[in-house]
Amino acid sequence: MHEAGDVWLIFRSTLRRKRMSLFWFALSVAAFHWLVAVSFPAIGGMEAVTSVVRTFPEGLRTLLKLAPNLQAGFGVQDYLAFTWIHPLFIGLGAAFVVSRASDGLTGEIERGSIYLVLSRPVQRWTFVLGKALEMTLGAGVVGLTAWIGLAVGVTALPYDLPLPNYLLAAAMAWLLFAALGGGAFLIASFFSRTSIGGALAIAWTLISFVLDVIPLIANSSLAWLNPWHHYFPQEIVATGRVDPFGVIVLLGWLLGGVGAAVWIFARRDLA
């Protein structure tokens, strides 16, 4: 019972301390999604976008996770779905979870503030869970505000767009960021220097992304282990469905990463 209270206290205290950073991350992604929607007519509308996208070589389409068969059409719905895989959005989302993981564990050790908490009757696992909870909730806020930005933006467009499907894409983006955050927590749990823990966590998000666009690896039998492998916003927007297996894998990364971080953090030296 005390432990649940400690998790809540650490979560609440972290959220309060980080609220301005969360606000700016959320505002940035909301503004980006709003901007993409409202600027759609200004860039030439449907025809201009389709003609540009068709010039993309296949490798670039894979990198951008664009619809494999462009002859089937690339409508405004696909264009707006593309914002969920845009480098700016995924970069901000990944940066958010990496910064939370590295600051929440290695940063606390580096600053010495962890000693104030753990010299009290607080178990280490409650500390990690409180931090992970704040990261997960923050990633959810980032995904949700992105959707709100898009929903506000599309009101200016003369199209009937499936906003609930975009909300599903936002939820999947949340899970993706949370999964990347789980991995980042695991990495951060080994280190006491933010520079090292943060750099390796960034490397983890970048390398896993790149591995998922290398055909040899993306088509291998182990490809399903990669969080990015289960993130296809265009497909979600087009079908209104998410792959349950993908959800399980992403949740597995979150829970497994945080669980392993708890295990390691409870057994290591804090110095």
Partner: protein, 326 residues
Amino acid sequence: MTRTRSTALGSYLAAMVAVNGSTPAIALQSVSKRYGDFEAVSDLNLRVAAGEVLGFLGPNGAGKTTTIRLLLGFLRPTAGAVHLLGHDMAAPKAALQARSQLGFVPDVAGLDPAATGKWLLDELARLQRRPPVDRNRLIDALELRSQDLRRPMGQLSRGTRQKINIVQGMQHRPDLLILDEPTEGLDPLAKRALFGLLRETHARGATIFFSSHVLSEVEELCDRVALIRSGRLAAVDRIDDLRTQMQRRVTVQFANNTPEIEQQLAALPGISTLTRTDNRWQFLTGDLMATLRLLAALPVVDVAIEPPSLEDIFLRYYRPEEQRHA
């Protein structure tokens, strides 16, 4: 080296006898911490009786902070065992019990610059699970203003942040208080106030482990001192007992100077650094009685015998190995 070890062992045994029959507040049993080939602390044996004030002295890099982190369970010993208030710090449940009765004032608290002092003190009090019964008294004694507690800590001076750090460690009236360089950043008035608070803490029966490299502070506050050097306890003893083991500095003036006086002084047992300026002689003696007997037989005009300061004791233990042997 052998003498140092035997002194430390003797002190340890004496301390064990002193606390015999009661649970020590702190017990380190053959504790070592090794990082690869580097041994940060080695074979630490230390018992601090309940209600005692122990000064933990050592130069930078001697192993003070490592020892404190071992005490609190932040580091796991490579060998040995740590008990606080009778609880084994290697057992998670027992360690939680110990920490519920513990107060810790770290040297670097890493206080969040965006948080206010009041908010931090409230949050830490909730985690402590003991009400902050002494908070107002501490705030008054340290002359922390209410507006200081409402401002973000990034806007406060170092001294004010350190006062908040002290309050967080003591506000719940701990039974065992561990302080790591607590006077860093404090002005002389705040230091006085802190010492007053520590004396009150001691008077109510709490145990204080006071780590510092400021000798005068330890001398003023502590019953016993533990001296750590290169990761090993060089001595653990009462300051007075350490003094008796040390040489006294003798300054003596004779009515006249003869070669016989110099010969007799030089022949004293345990004498060192014999120097002369005009009729005034200075030397260190390890055998006070023999010195007094000799001086009684000589034409002494004036004599001053100074007890060694803690600084002398400190320098004795921290002088490089070759100088100590010389």
